[in-house]
Symmetry: none
Subunit: 276 residues, 2 copies
């Protein structure tokens, strides 16, 4: 629509051109304005605005506004923008959400199907799962625990590194570790994984590509995200980790066939009803 206005502009009458300029100058406010407001802003009369709409193949002003609104909604995908002290809270929210969306899109484009299949296979051949994550990643580990313990095998999350060490030492070859870390460079988690592997447990890591943690695990589900703009701890990678673990859990569930899916749906409804 905006393109259409620009293209049609030359063939418009003079005062209609003024309308075109006013709309192009600030399309966002145009969709919220009445004919009256636009007429004033363009310095023309109200019927001129209607004639402008008709020139653009719209039956009236309302339809024009609707088409323009839909156009604006579609424009511009999502990208990072740093927040500044001058942003209103609405602008701020949009920037942060755009960033979060952009990072999920990035993850979507980076999925390693092979790793995912391997990870699913590892879950299927294990008898229990332990999830390790500290700091921000502890939250992700707990969230994943909620999913995995419904899949039929014991699942437990530890966030304290000392307890992780102790737990890892008690694992055996039937245990599966899921180690979560944004950077994959924290000495605590590396030590924990080392101990776990010494106990012959399998290790899936959810972390950054080619990080030490990724390299020392059997399968790495990588989550790489542009974190520069995060003020707090990395929210975006947290979101990404949660989604990737959801993918893993759903992947396992789907392999279990319709029966398992139904059971999970039931479980979900029961829990939703009470808790969420």
């Amino acid at each position: 629509m905006l393109a259409k206005i620009k293209a049609a502009k030359e063939s418009l009458r003079n005062s209609e051109k003024k309308v075109a300029d006013a709309v192009i100058a600030d399309p966002d406010s145009a969709v919220q304005s009445s004919i009256h407001a636009i007429a004033i802003r363009a310095g023309v009369s109200e019927p001129t605005v209607i004639r402008f709409c008709r020139a653009l193949d719209c039956v009236g002003f309302q339809q024009f506004k609707l088409k323009l609104a839909q156009d604006l909604a579609r424009r511009g995908t999502f990208f990072y923008q740093d927040v500044t002290a001058e942003d209103t809270s609405g602008v701020l929210a949009n920037k942060l959400l755009d960033g979060a969306i952009a990072s999920l899109v990035q993850i979507r484009n980076q999925i390693n199907e092979e790793a995912l299949d391997k990870a699913i296979a590892l879950y299927e051949s294990c008898s229990r799962v332990e999830l390790y994550g500290s700091g921000g990643s502890a939250v992700v580990a707990e969230d994943a625990q909620l999913k995995f313990f419904r899949l039929g095998k014991p699942a437990i999350a530890y966030s304290d590194p000392h307890i992780q060490h102790a737990a890892a030492a008690l694992l055996d070859r039937d245990a599966l570790v899921i180690a979560i870390s944004h950077s994959g460079r924290s000495s605590d988690i590396l030590k924990t994984v080392e101990i776990a592997r010494a106990s012959r447990a399998k290790v899936i890591s959810v972390t950054a590509t080619r990080s030490p943690l990724a390299q020392s695990s059997d399968v790495a589900l990588t989550v790489d995200v542009n974190e520069d703009s995060d003020i707090f701890s990395p929210v975006k990678s947290r979101l990404g980790q949660m989604v990737v673990l959801d993918v893993l859990a759903v992947g396992v569930a789907v392999r279990g066939g319709d029966h398992m899916l139904e059971q999970l749906a039931k479980a979900r409804r029961a829990i939703d009803f009470k808790f969420v």
Copy 2:
């Protein structure tokens, strides 16, 4: 917007529900209709249609139509698809990520700037924060705690409803509660908030539009998401809640000026290095 309508439907009055049904049944024609036409199709009076729009946080019918139109325009980029047992893990991952992305886009389009400003003001005027969430929302509460305790005021998260009750009873007028719940209908969280308000604490809720929890809090930061396709507990609303709380925390931080932002950046680097 459609998700918002679905989420709010239960809390609407009977004849408003008829409007909701009519809109959901054929949203495409709804955006082209006048109040009159929609009123007839839903079998209600015209003011009821307007009241329906207002219930959805729109200032009037026009704004409602505009938002709905934009919503419809945006759909189709990323959209929900149910997973099936035949999906390869790659397809599965794409479907789930698309769904997650779509839900964040929805949230982005629903930001209530006014509520956000109020929430920021509430934080600024409180002396400490308590975060309450159970089940899946407990994870979100913990995540938010990590952010808020860096902002300079004590912040603590409780996930056990009994402890929440006890904690809420001990609050005073300087305390701020952030209550997190997907449905906003769990009796536990409602009871907790009731106690908190009796203690004269302020309450921000992160929950579904017009849910009982939203209605019984001072400010509601609404997160409405289409959860039909989730196999496990609502992942998407979890993501949304986390992002919304991130927006709130960043909003507070930004109001603190450049000095605060620098400090947070420092804190972040220190913690990243060690933990994440």
